[in-house]
């Protein structure tokens, strides 16, 4: 009773659609705020833990913003614990957390971003992993069906799925925002990035 369980298909789908494709943008934002890579890893891991604890996602009507908001809160909590900044500094810096939905193209944007990400990831996989993932994606084959098609054992397929997943997740961690408006300098001053924040709508404290 006290142990956590495997997330529901609904939560997994929701995270796949709205969270995973945003990871690059979130990492870019954290980097712009001079958050170290390992702190960013911690914050993002904690955000996924929060999502794993959700029992229902139907009430979250702006999922991309929810991810950003969760990360923003976690970062704020971390800063509070560390007591290294005044709250006003946070409020000002938090402006770089942008809400993709505010542009009104959330669904289209999420789907397109996801497609682009999937294609980029597929291209980088070893050949058999790519074949397996393409069969999954295009034809909706199960691991068992893929094994039969490729004439290999099911454990070979499972191993390849595992390997591919590891590679893709490491790649996600290494890749910052793939949407193209990432700043060129890693440690640029926030004020210098105003051009970017102004073009998008700014997420203030909800």
């Amino acid at each position: 009773m006290s142990s956590p369980s495997v997330p529901s298909p609904e939560i997994i789908r929701w995270v796949a659609t709205h969270v995973v494709p945003q990871e690059g943008a979130v990492r870019t934002t954290l980097r712009r705020l001079n958050v170290s890579e390992s702190d960013a890893d911690d914050i993002i891991q904690d955000a996924y833990c929060r999502f794993a604890a959700l029992t229902c996602v139907a009430h979250i009507d702006r999922p991309g913003a929810y991810f950003m908001q969760t990360v923003k809160n976690l970062w704020r909590d971390q800063l509070r614990r560390a007591q290294i900044i005044r709250f006003e500094d946070f409020t000002e810096n938090a402006e770089s957390f942008v809400e993709p939905e505010a542009m009104g193209i959330e669904a289209v944007c999420a789907a397109r971003q996801q497609l682009r990400m999937v294609e980029a990831m597929l291209a980088k996989l070893p050949e058999r992993c790519r074949t397996i993932f393409t069969l999954k994606r295009v034809e909706g084959c199960s691991q068992k069906e893929i094994a039969a098609r490729l004439g290999v054992s099911e454990s070979v397929v499972e191993n390849d799925v595992q390997k591919a997943l590891r590679l893709i997740q490491a790649e996600m961690r290494a890749t910052a925002d793939a949407t193209g408006d990432a700043p060129t300098r890693e440690n640029g001053q926030l004020l210098d990035e105003r051009g970017i924040t102004q073009r998008r709508t700014i997420a203030l404290n909800a």
Binding site: M1, S2, S3, P4, S5, V6, P7, I12, R13, V15, A16, T17, V20, P21, S36, E37, S38, D39, D41, D42, Q45, D46, C49, R50, F51, A52, A53, L54, T55, C56, H59, D61, Q69, T70, N73, D77, A107, V108, A111, Q114, L115, M117, K136, R137, E139, G140, Q143, E154, V157, E158, N159, V161, Q162, K163, L165, R166, I168, Q169, M172, A206
Partner: protein
Amino acid sequence: MTKEASHSDGPSPSTLEGEAARWAAALDAKADETPEGLDAWLAQNPRHAGALLRAQATLALFTPPLQLVPEAEPETPPSLSQRAIGWLTRHRMRVASGGALIAAGIAGLLLYAPGADRYATGTGEMRQVTLAEGSSLSLDTQTSLKVEMESDARVVKLAEGRTLLRVRHDATRPFRVKAGAITITDIGTVFQVIRRGDAVTVLVSEGMVEITAPGGKLRLGAGQTASFDGKANLGGMPEAQTVSPASIERATAWTNGRIELDGERLDAAIDEMNRHNQLKITLTDPALGAEKLYGAFRLDDPSGFARTAALSVGAQARDSGETIRITK
């Protein structure tokens, strides 16, 4: 890469990803079975649940896109069963409250006073009351109030608890909620009043209300809230606070049988759950009470709540049958 080595606590991100990838691949191989050892791994570190979710969601990117983004396909009508589930979810409250309404009718007869009806809910009970003139009230658990219909005014006297009011506007018969020393006069609106002892909180989601308190008058519009502390505000008046639509939705989630949290404290959330359930949750370590919680939970599922809450604050939930203890 040297940064990864200095990672604060727990396994490095790549180790965690590798382990999570193994479980996600195993779950993908046999969807109906929980692989042996998975539960133990999940229980080992609170981060494991998040890592597994990330791996499974990443894998879900490689499933046919139609399954993944149902909301991007508006031309596909929902299946009959989906619609049936939606209908059931929407109407369960109403069906349940139908029985409560009959009970309330009997209670009303027993406690009958001219022009007045009394409504009270017990632990875990919620009630929907529709008044003859068209306004409706949702009563949260452990709420007690009296409705007085007069020719020139409609008055709800809130003795304790929380109620959400959808008021039908009638300029000739103003609608008032009296909560101790505070009177809220509706100007055609949806608003919520919480009374805990002498402390009263008013939240307006549509329209406008006027509040009269010992310290003066205050108008609240849609998206505003004000809290009156019974003792501190005898002289002064609180300021109206503006809240976001999302916060209003969270604050009124109880009307759908849910509690929605966005960084609220664990102890406050436990108080809320305990108001709704006979099975009580206790915190063994008071320091845990300040931990923040996120997510939506069913109000009638204390064990589910305790389990996920404990997980997200890095603690454990122990269910002894009579109480559930959250402990480090």
